[in-house]
Symmetry: C2
Subunit: 151 residues, 2 copies
DNA sequence: CTAGGAGCTAGAGTCGGCTCTAGGTCAACC
DNA sequence: GGTTGACCTAGAGCCGACTCTAGCTCCTAG
């Protein structure tokens, strides 16, 4: 079970992570790798599985809207090693707050969209003759004031 | 109960919606208003409450990542009036799918962040002496392979 | 009558996050 | 030995969604 390090080329890493080779070089340039990326004798980048794992984390954080500067700060803290756990924790908590806020907004939107979809589905269920003027039955609309309009 | 139309200036609309006056002019230029924005004798924009309601919808859709072109298409459908409800429905369903997908990604991120926060909280709870080497207790890590690393 | 404030237009600038180009190196195969 | 094909660097370009600027008009208050 002797694990041998598995050294990957940039193309392989691109394929595994879904990032482009351009993006990988860009991320390196932006300081998003915990360890400096090694080079082979020809000057080509050589990545490890650890790099791929770290990139996976980065991708998830990016997909949840963490900006590159924050990701860089976090990377730097990890690179520095033990002793700054409070700072990492603070950064993570901040991002957690941002994510839950995004989810709140998305939920609000989903309510609106579901309401509107319901309106249109009902409308399209009616026999064609009955359609059009229907605008006044606005009474029991949900609290989303803006959703009242039948647009 | 005779509602009188309440004509608003661009500054008032900006204040109510949270959009900048620049953004309001920009949105108009981009065709995001259902009805053409009226002007007073001096050429200034005059908005109605309906405009503000519509903007509120736009803001929610934008905040959930709907791009301006999609918002413009939807606006155009509404502007055209009855007869294109299927298309509106299709557009809304598409956006609904996009929103639920975003929520899926955010949930994944939240799992990761919560896990890491947990790790750091535990770590900081330990008496200082016991800290550092702790890296090998990776057994029962959650399925998120990438979350295993104690970074 | 003039100073301030809100509004106008057209168009330039900004920012984040890549993406692409130009011009080159290197190793492997036919 | 010529041709791929993967990789390299530095830097330019792009896209979306605003944001800002310059130079103007208009209204109101003092």
């Amino acid at each position: 079970m002797a694990e041998f390090p598995a050294r990957l080329g940039i193309g392989q890493v691109a394929e595994r992570t879904g990032l482009s080779v351009h993006a990988l070089r860009f991320y390196e340039h932006e300081g998003l790798f915990v360890n400096p990326v090694r080079r082979d004798p020809g000057g080509r980048r050589v990545y490890t599985e650890d790099d791929v794992d770290w990139l996976t984390v980065c991708i998830i954080l990016r997909a949840s809207g963490m900006p590159l500067p924050a990701l860089r700060r976090y990377t730097e803290l990890v690179r520095q090693g033990h002793g700054n756990e409070e700072q990492r924790l603070a950064l993570l908590r901040e991002h957690q707050a941002s994510v839950t806020d995004q989810m709140r907004k998305l939920t609000e939107c989903l309510d609106l969209v579901r309401f509107k979809i319901g309106v249109y589905e009902d409308l399209l269920d009616q026999p064609v003759a009955d359609r059009r003027c229907h605008a006044a039955s606005d009474e029991d609309a949900p609290r989303l004031a803006s959703a009242r309009a039948t647009h």
